[in-house]
Symmetry: C2
Subunit: 449 residues, 2 copies
Amino acid sequence: MKRAFTKDQTWLQCMDCGYRADLLNERFFRCPKCQGLYDIHHDLNPPLKALARVYELERPDLTYKRVFDFRAGKGTSWSGPVLSSGVWRFKELIMPYLPEKHIISLQEGNVPIVRAGKYLRQWVGDSIDLYIILEGQSPTGSFKDFGGTVMMSIAKAAGIEAVCCASTGDTSAMAAAYAAAANIRCAVLLPKGKVTPAQLVQPLIYGARVITLPGDFDDCMRVMQHLVTNYRIYPANSLNPSRIEGHQVTVFLIAQNFEWELPDWIAVPVGNGSNCSSVGKGLRLMSQVGFKVKTKILGCQSQAANPLALSWKNAISIQEWQNAYKSIKVGETTATAARIGNPVSCKKVMREITLSNGEMQTASEKDLNEAVAICGRDGYFVCPQTGIALAGVKNAVRDGQIQKNERVVVVSTATGLKFTDSASNNLKKEIISAPSCKTETVLNLIMHT
Amino acid sequence: MKRAFTKDQTWLQCMDCGYRADLLNERFFRCPKCQGLYDIHHDLNPPLKALARVYELERPDLTYKRVFDFRAGKGTSWSGPVLSSGVWRFKELIMPYLPEKHIISLQEGNVPIVRAGKYLRQWVGDSIDLYIILEGQSPTGSFKDFGGTVMMSIAKAAGIEAVCCASTGDTSAMAAAYAAAANIRCAVLLPKGKVTPAQLVQPLIYGARVITLPGDFDDCMRVMQHLVTNYRIYPANSLNPSRIEGHQVTVFLIAQNFEWELPDWIAVPVGNGSNCSSVGKGLRLMSQVGFKVKTKILGCQSQAANPLALSWKNAISIQEWQNAYKSIKVGETTATAARIGNPVSCKKVMREITLSNGEMQTASEKDLNEAVAICGRDGYFVCPQTGIALAGVKNAVRDGQIQKNERVVVVSTATGLKFTDSASNNLKKEIISAPSCKTETVLNLIMHT
């Protein structure tokens, strides 16, 4: 099979020691020299020069704006992913050398960025200029689709036959849907007896092989690692750096929404850390290609799973943070998708928060649930992880980190429709029982409760 | 309060006797003379003339195309609904006289129209050119948002204080979300003991008053009718013709997707009939303003609830159909949202199917469930009602109604995430139990099952 791109065009590079590896053939996803995490790098000059020639404006960033603005809204069933996907609109920035024929897209990424409603503005503090990017309005209902489309396109370009993950949540849904679109096998490994069919509806409907093992989650992870290392099975989990390339688009979409002026803050929930890593990488990339960037990242964790927030201190260096960091035993939380005591990408989170002069916040369980309820009152049904980020913003306003009139965009990572169990438990007490079927009785309940 | 528009600009008109009523003050939603259904009419000449002057092209339809194409993809948090909503992009066609300040939008309507995947094409018959408009990628997860944004905007313009419905499904979710955005009270009336909190998560999270009555569904409907007739409570159910105006956008989005060439067929599931009514009205409107329209409507019902398909015969006149029509006692089906034995809008369905030279089809329970599963294999998780329309298309190909190379667009009414119970029951048998944690055993299950 002809290589989709060369190792000099797009490659993997260890974030710690600089070791380079081949994105299309590497399978272990940890640096063999020092066990560091990989970043993806591109030789951006040729694609950006080509792009700059489109309009031949004086400053290249003006051309980028015009090209990306032109592409938005041009999508049809026929027009190809660069026009129809909100992720591939930014192809030159995320995967410039990948031939378009390899792209696996479900028309993801055209998501709304809405101003916070009345109730949320009151709850957070009305002095700031608050927005939410609703990434849950995606093919599989979560932000993972942004990364999924890039990951599965690379898998296709690399000739992968099967992808694999060990997840009951958004990752398995995303992996299964994009694998279906790519006509690649997908396997989801899970401990037997620990999961319900309801948790697995999405991977099953998308035709993934959902396989239960006679063991625990660690056994599933161990088997998956063997499959990845020895049998060319592609991992769909957070270690896979292709996903990060797609998630950077969160930053580009936000910039485009505000006529290419970046906000003061982007607030994200931190579970395994891929959101935070990619927002930071996207901000650095925008700065590198000529945009003015002053955005700080607010990383937010729940009280039940806050190893990064616990070890963070203002003005800490990456090295000091790494020294202070300890993984923790997680507690109970409704924000199950971010219930992680030792995030895979924790070093990348430390790098991006520090480089952006950002901050970390911890959200209490009460606050994160309240945030979801308050958002609902404004007409938006978001997931509990979004609640973490919203509560984090509230705390950051209280603590004076976010200041008056600053513009803040919160990343809403999934639709609330994927987390109805926790919501329905909190809400059933709200159902009103009418004592009779008299119209006046019901009218009174409508107008005066 | 100043009127938002006059009775000569936008009005209600009985589809049977032509009686006119005031959209902003009418509450009963049945013609007082003959109990007929209302249509909404507009004096379209002034707004369309104004629009035609934008580019001053020879043919006005060329200008409409250019204006609507310009607006697509221009949306930001600030730009207002005409640029940011896929529904209000077509404001001149759906509610031309409504001042923009009354519009209540959640940035709905920017939904993908995708070509059917490999498995679905095989299942339906690969000789046709098949697409799906995924209307479930909407704020509340169903097509109802298209109508909801228009209905709630009219409610706001009319000074309504509370809306009401008796529904456990997509209608209550839509009504509650848009009422929240409009800061209007919303009540959902339901029989006590017949519904679970899980069914009500969306109305509850959006802050609706969910009120259970000591009675059955008929009591809820009776109380609602009293509230509507005597206390200026606004009905959010299918009778409300404002919803139809928004649903017409399905046709305009499809036209725009295919560079303003309408497909041969649009296939819709028929429950209460609002989808079918609005697609027909939208097609007639496009023809009226100068587009070439030859699209036929394929109305599809499940075997469990097919009063319209049962009474329909090819080349039947509206009058003959009405004479043959009988309401039926519904059976069991997974497509619960279309389980209706006497559709509210049945006369409108008859009108639109007949005027478009369309057809009716009945989908078997086996076929509609199979269609959902097949769609999943291509990476799309759709609701059982979408399954009805897909199975209807399959039957229409088999019966020679849809012919070789014809272009067909299926309306997918909601995301499968709203109907996981039926899906998970069908799917749990698909879970594979590995006999051991050996890597080779698992690999074998991945690659050879």
